[in-house]
Amino acid sequence: MGKIRMTSKILFTLVLFVILITTISAKAAQKTVILATTTSTQDSGLLDVLIPVFEKDSAYKVKTISVGSGQAIKMGEKGEADVLLVHSPEAEKKFMDAGFGITRRLVMHNDFVIVGSANDPAKIKGLSSVEALKKIASSASVFVSRGDNSGTHAKEKGLWKAAAINPEGNKWYQSSGSGMGQSLNIAAEKKGYILTDRGTYLALKKNLNLVILSEGDSKLLNIYHVIELNQQRYPKINAAGGKSFADFMISKKAQEVIKTFGIQKFGAPLFFPDAGKNVNALGK
């Protein structure tokens, strides 16, 4: 008697289990596109608006893996993503030269800004980015670096290089190893300076006691490209889905969304659509 009850119990749980597994894997049948992108496109909320539009218009379901641009590009190199949306031009050029990608198209730009607490201990307000970094270094004020090989981190390293300073190893130079949003929180807590893209900063501004101190010079341009991967190199990728997403990003519809995104909430657009433009003409 007890045995029968036990067996029926086991049978019941097994059946239940099979049902659960099938309901979960049923979703996977839909064709998916893996988009590897930067944290800024996710933390600013732009993708939350764009992706539903794309999914509605196409048969694909997008899996957004939001990491730093460095990691996103690495995922591309391994063929673990179908399409990249990144902002690390130097690394992207190397990626293309090595034949990992087939097309690299300009999507949008915004700019980087250096933010810090309003009392500005290093007195960088109004200076150009390179001058500002020099002052931060000479006054040994806290500077929070992403430290995660993201596009923002790459930009920051370029600026330090232009300032002829090697900040690594200094006590005031703190590497957070986190995404843009988290790093901004850390900078706010430590009353430090930080290089950030304007989009994420504006989106998070309400919780941060940080103000823009250096902005507007041409070195601070932040440019986003969408890259399709080379299927000959990675036979397993969903190249058609990647192309579909890349085409969507430069389509009129998406560009219109990008143009207006954030105006209502933050009073200013977070990104400027640039499809079809020449990179060298940006910011002029």
Binding site: L20, I21, K27, A28, Y234, K236, I237
Partner: protein
Amino acid sequence: MELIIEGITTALKLIFTLDSEVFAVTLLSLKISSIATFLSLLFGLPIGTFLALSNFPGRRVIISMVNTGMGLPPVVVGLFVTIFLWRNGPFGYFEILYTPTAMIIAQTVIAFPIVAGITIASIQALPANLKLQALALGATKCQMLWILLREARLPLLAAVMAGFGGVISEVGASMMVGGNIKGDTRVLTTATVMETSKGNFDVAIALSLILLVLAFSVNYILTVIQQRERPR
């Protein structure tokens, strides 16, 4: 202080208005962690029982490994499961990275040693001659096992609770193998991390409160069963 109150108000609002996104995220957390706990029981109970009762060379090493595994860092599990499931990895063929299935696998790996370890401890805590008595009274091997598991059922419930508590609260592995994809693999813990980095502290607090309530409710139910059945 203001932030905490705001967080609690947001939490209550999200819960009582049955916010569809929060509801879906909560449900997914519950689903993934329950299945993972169930699977870890499926493997952990028999293997734990076997290790507790058998005697073979190398058994102590294996038990030590299981005990070490009880503290297995979720990020380590996440990293290895990711590497194995990559398209170009050994199990890439299945294409399950960044799906709930991958999260179930990772969480099962995390919960398995917890369940197996507690099973070993609870079976071994039974009076040593219980096994002999059962066999002497003519029980078959299967019946003997059943008697032992029945006797150990209360500590075994603790294994369920510990396993479930371990996986519902872990974030490292879920983030890596799930990818925190909206509407697909976003669970309470990964959503909390994301909302924190977005600076939406009120929503983050709300999600953590829901997580706490959820963990509490499940443990409360199990504890009630455990205490009701406590031998007098």
